[in-house]
Symmetry: C2
Subunit: 343 residues, 2 copies
């Protein structure tokens, strides 16, 4: 049983879909769920959503932060915003972990303000998952993890080592992949290539034993899925995940263009439709549930802003797994191997 | 009429396909072509390739550099390598521009060793072209230009300004797009976002008038083709072009998987085949001919290592256009606007 704080007011479809997702979890697991938000609205949604009331507790929060607000001003100016309250109850020990589909910037800032860094970790990172060709782990998982994708801009070699350890521990718990392959993103596979911080991290990681460091990868390896965990600074991770998003969009528009253009192509796309649907299902982020803000003494699982109940449910389950898998403890063990960095 | 030095010994299919490409150009244009390499081999190929002998001259070069050699050691250790000789005859005024399908590293180093920087330019860049959704210019060109993709690793704000001017001038000559849209690649469209060098370049470029600077773009805009010229440091450009390459490969393998898997999907792909072929043709790099190493007082057009005669022919024609379009002169004019940088 994990105690999970859920930011009921964060996300494009909050509080309805968030509360519905939590209600489903209460029927399927033994987690204790602390829904943070406006009690009257949460209760009204629960009234029509099947749930196990012994596993749900409502924690009042009078304010909320929208996607459009400036994250810094909102986190500072709204102490009773649901994300701030959720972070606070985790910090005070009332919950083990938190889940939010709200503003990413506000979530990161709220955590950074109240949480301490995990032992040995130099900097926190936001991770993201993306679909690849290669499947991995016991569950035949089609996702690779990439971090950092936006909690940092410039990083040091020591930061990259922290990201490598954290990503490895997270992937081993979530994908049931005991020895995930961890690689540094660079502009060539040679160990002496890349930016100074990448070369420095490479030298440190290759002498470690706890994580399965496989060296440098380059851009071409990202869609392939050569690595299970891709380690990079936030500027590079942001570029990668946004390019992947753009390419998905472009392919869709291209298919639509072909569809309109030519009767034979139209038939072709129709015939492929079930295949495309099946593929989409395998690689759908809704199935994955969210990505962690990792590196503090407590974890936040950031669900996609567009999350509906299914995605929220999966994000909460992921959060539960990180508690059962003793994520924070294992990160400390992993970092201890590179002790001289963590001092 | 332009005088174009062609590295006849560089490329996976050299000298055969390179000489054949040049032979074709001699029949279609009035350029004077200086084929640099082993005279006996070049003559043997010309013997069976229709060409205009008044437009072809052979410049002997006793050595050549393969793709596998260490570029630095080879450029230093083989003064009579075809790439070194081609660079030398351009520097000495015997030719206006050079074309090579050989080792990219060796080409960059050979140029860097002998050429001077173009007036006002702080650093040279290697550009690359990639297909996008949006079409542009008089010729309905489906390509965007991105630079730098590998002549640099770390860059300064001033370097990025140089790249913006050079990319804009090149695109306006090659794509017949009078005012190409030039953007800086960043991690957000806001002008105050990004690495320090990007913010600095943004402030300089927005005060310029000669180039059509449209601000920052992010990863999602790359496959869309929002910008005609994407400006970034070499580490980022390398990541972008390699990811695009990897995604192309992954899509091909996925199609093959679908093809084997399901009879209906098989029919679908068959029906789409002509569409895919047509698309491939529109976006084929062989049609484009090559990408420039730009920023020195002379230009090199780097054709793809896998180039066959068609790609070589197009690369030579591109080189001719840069001479007719007075590329180097226009770069100097463009940089003069940011005069305080060029000092």
């Amino acid at each position: 049983m994990a105690r999970i704080a859920v930011d009921a007011m964060g996300g494009d479809h909050a509080p309805d879909e968030v509360v519905r997702g939590a209600a489903q979890v209460s029927m399927e697991t033994d987690h204790h769920l602390l829904l943070v938000g406006e009690p009257a609205r949460i209760e009204a949604i629960l009234a029509s959503a099947p749930h196990n009331s012994r596993r749900i507790e409502i924690i009042p929060a009078a304010q909320s932060i929208s996607m459009e607000e400036d994250p810094k001003a909102a986190v500072e100016g709204k102490p009773d915003a649901s994300i701030n309250v959720a972070v606070r109850i985790v910090k005070e020990g009332q919950a083990d972990v938190l889940v939010s589909a709200g503003s990413t910037g506000a979530g990161i800032l709220a955590c950074a303000k109240r949480f301490s860094r995990a032992p040995g970790v130099s900097r926190a990172a936001l991770a993201s998952v993306y679909p690849t060709e290669i499947r991995r782990g016991e569950k035949d998982d089609p996702f690779s993890l990439i971090l950092d994708v936006g909690a940092t801009v410039n990083v040091t070699g020591r930061d990259l080592v922290s990201f490598a350890v954290m990503g490895s521990v997270y992937a081993s718990i979530i994908s049931r992949n005991a020895r995930p392959k961890v690689a540094l993103l660079s502009n060539g596979t040679e160990e002496l290539k890349g930016l100074p911080e990448i070369k420095e991290a490479h030298q440190t990681l290759k002498n470690g034993h706890l994580i399965n460091f496989t060296g440098n990868i380059e851009g071409v390896d990202i869609p392939r899925g050569t690595a299970d965990v891709v380690v990079c600074g936030g500027f590079h991770g942001n570029l990668v995940v946004k390019m992947l998003e753009g390419i998905g969009e472009a392919a869709m528009r291209l298919a639509f263009y072909a569809y309109k253009k030519h009767i034979l192509w139209k038939l072709g796309l129709l015939a492929l439709r079930s295949g495309i649907k099946q593929l989409k299902q395998i690689t759908d982020w809704e199935q994955y549930g969210g990505a962690p803000l990792i590196g503090f003494d407590h974890l936040m699982i950031k669900a996609h802003g567009r999350s509906r109940a299914l995605a929220v449910k999966n994000a909460i389950k992921v959060a539960g797994k990180t508690v059962h898998g003793r994520l924070i403890e294992k990160i400390a063990t992993g970092m201890a191997e590179f002790g001289e960095l963590g001092s």
